[in-house]
Symmetry: C2
Subunit: 210 residues, 2 copies
């Protein structure tokens, strides 16, 4: 039996640079993830191919997929739906390959519920770490702006609580390196490799019994 791949989810507050970090990560030579094809109700743009760039479906089809529990996660932006089909992710994981998703925080919450074994990485803005010193040192901002910032930071922190790892996006190469290490180290976990050793010995014994 092929060992199931691992699901990695990169998420974080809007504007933190998830897409840039994901692209830089995928450009690394030794990174080999299955490309997860999203489903959408928006119209294909010039050159976009159904089943390659997106699964293009109607709103009725998308809503039906949601109702039937076929979406790992989805979101609605303006008038259109975007989401990750559960079957595609499951089939890829079953084939032994890892899957990497870059999605918004609502999507990540849905993944946590539907696939709790997924590894959730929260990309944090560096200014969240610098917030304290900035606010104290400047002391120039109106109290309501400071309060709004603190409130926003708090909301972000509340979301981080449900994640496995927090990676600061201070420099893209640092964030990429930390995510690479998370992926490597997750594969070193005993719960990941133990079955390999067990299976190896079982096969040996069967081989001996012949």
């Amino acid at each position: 039996m092929t060992k199931r791949g691992m699901l990695f989810v990169l998420s974080g507050p809007s504007g933190v640079g998830k897409g840039t970090v994901r692209k830089a990560l995928f450009e690394q030579e030794d990174i080999n993830f299955a490309y997860s094809i999203s489903m959408t109700t928006r119209q294909p743009r010039d050159g976009e191919v159904d089943g390659k760039d997106y699964f293009f479906v109607t709103k009725d089809q998308f809503k039906k997929a949601i109702d039937q529990g076929q979406m790992l996660e989805y979101a609605q932006y303006v008038d259109n739906f975007y989401g990750t089909p559960l079957k595609y992710v499951n089939d890829t994981l079953d084939s032994g390959q890892d899957v990497f998703l870059e999605i918004d925080v609502n999507g990540a919450t849905q993944v946590r519920e539907k696939m709790p074994e997924g590894i959730l990485i929260f990309l944090t803005p560096p200014d969240l770490l610098e917030l304290k010193s900035r606010l104290i040192n400047r002391g120039t901002e109106p109290i309501e702006v400071i309060e709004k910032r603190i409130e926003q930071a708090k909301q972000e922190i509340l979301m981080m609580k449900h994640y496995d790892y927090a990676v600061v996006n201070d420099k893209i190469e640092n964030a990429v390196e930390n995510i690479r290490q998370i992926i490597n180290v997750e594969h070193l976990q005993v719960k990941q490799v133990y079955s390999d050793y067990e299976q190896m010995l079982t096969i040996n014994e069967k081989g001996e019994a012949k």
Copy 2:
């Protein structure tokens, strides 16, 4: 309040190369662990300093320390006791510094019981991974030798089960790099950094209230 350091434990079957890997790891520039001073009942050798190389104690003192629960882990080799004092490790962790222990598998089991938050890394011999192909390909060894090897491998695997990570010691530099990454990635865990963010915001708010 200073954030408590993390305890990393490197262990594995006798002869796997724990000491060599630990030395190579400690030679890395950016590695900064507290050196854990062991307690022993053996006589000091020339040049060894009490409280620096070892805490040298009598057997009665050592047994009393065991009885009073003052040892994080200990072992008896031939006629002498060797072990890690709990207070030293606790004080170092409380000061915010990480502690790295290289101990045998019995010691690691004791650490798991007394400090379940410790990160246990199991160093595996590369031949354990190669066992299957070697046994199948050669087919030249007497059945009792093969059975003994499988039995030994099984015992090793049983121990691995209680660890967090498995690192193959195929090449020292690979093992060192993987352990370095484990240490880094453990510090990226949300459960490690969450309090920093929380604390930061609490301080900000207090700052505002002035």
